[in-house]
């Protein structure tokens, strides 16, 4: 019981509701929350209180913001890239509309040193490799055969000369 009380008092719950707890602390907190009703209750109360604090610091958005969000979501569904919507930090200018005008242009980046070829070339190269292997094997075979014949001819010539001398 004392362990649970110390845990609640440790400040980890506050860290979690403020979004500053580490992954390990969060994991431990979830474990404690599941296991101990006091932790569950304390965390629940803190979360409600954190929301109350955030509500006190709230700023009412001007009219039209929700419509703007809905319009952006609908346009983003048509352009399946959420990062397309970027906020320019320096000017606060929403670059979506500007980039949309530029959408007709294709950005090309020449960074890769690799080229893309059709898959058929793999078969062509394999066939070429087999053909070259066949020619190489044939060349070695005929070279050896030629050498062998040459040796036999020489041997026959020598025998003929020997017979003539006799």
């Amino acid at each position: 019981m004392l362990r649970v009380k110390n845990y609640i008092e440790s400040g980890i719950l506050e860290l979690y509701v403020m979004g500053a707890a580490s992954d390990e602390e969060t994991e431990e907190l979830f474990y404690m929350r599941e296991k101990y009703a006091q932790v569950r209750e304390a965390l629940w109360n803190l979360e409600i209180e954190m929301e109350s604090v955030a509500q006190k610091m709230a700023v009412i958005p001007p009219a039209g913001i929700l419509e703007k969000i809905e319009a952006e979501i609908n346009s983003l569904v048509q352009i399946p890239d959420p990062d397309y919507l970027k906020v320019d930090k320096s000017s606060g200018y929403n670059s979506h509309s500007k980039r949309r005008k530029d959408f007709q242009f294709i950005e090309i980046e020449v960074a890769s040193r690799q080229i893309r070829v059709h898959k058929l070339w793999a078969w062509a190269f394999a066939f070429l490799f087999l053909l070259l292997t066949f020619f190489l094997a044939s060349a070695i075979y005929f070279y050896n055969k030629d050498n062998h014949i040459e040796k036999q001819v020489k041997q026959l010539k020598m025998e003929l000369e020997k017979q003539r001398k006799r």
Binding site: M18, A54, V59, I65, I69, I73, L85, K86, V87
Partner: protein, 158 residues
């Protein structure tokens, strides 16, 4: 068929975003404003956060985790350019990190409490990082945070 599904998806997303906006829109705008310190920029970011949120609605755990904590963390990730201050700059700027806030509720906190609360809540800094910054023990930082939280809580109740 595909078109109907797409429209239904947009409708579901739109409804989810509508209810989240109605409940948390003002809180999020207040939160974002405290970080970016510019009303127009904060509004632009609010739009961006909700647009990004529409893509991540299923990824967030709405049953087990607090909605506000998740939304606040989600927004802070999108504001990383504002919340990640280089360490040396943060130390040099220790005194002025907090106090441009127009939020009168921070006035109830002392200098240290403001710094700890602001660094954690708005900048997502860890206890260890703040402890190193302020040259105080981690236990003391947690204590300061608890005190700050208690004051703000009391203020919110009143």
């Amino acid at each position: 068929m595909l078109k109907i599904k797409k429209q239904a998806l947009i409708k579901t997303k739109s409804d989810g975003i509508d209810s989240l906006y109605n409940k948390y829109g003002a809180m999020l705008l207040g939160y974002i404003f405290e970080i970016v310190k510019d009303q127009k920029l904060a509004e632009d970011f609010l739009v961006k956060v909700f647009c990004d949120l529409s893509y991540s609605l299923d990824e967030l755990d709405w049953d087990k985790k607090s909605s506000w904590s998740q939304l606040q963390r989600f927004a802070r990730k999108r504001l990383a350019a504002f919340t990640t201050i280089p360490e040396d700059e943060a130390i040099a700027d220790r005194g002025s990190l907090v106090y441009s806030s127009r939020n009168k509720h921070f006035g109830q906190l002392n200098h240290e409490q403001q710094h700890v609360f602001y660094a954690m809540y708005y900048h997502g800094k860890s206890v260890a990082a703040i402890s190193a910054e302020l040259n105080k023990t981690e236990d003391l930082i947690r204590k300061i945070l608890k005190e700050a939280f208690a004051i703000l809580r009391k203020d919110a109740e009143s």
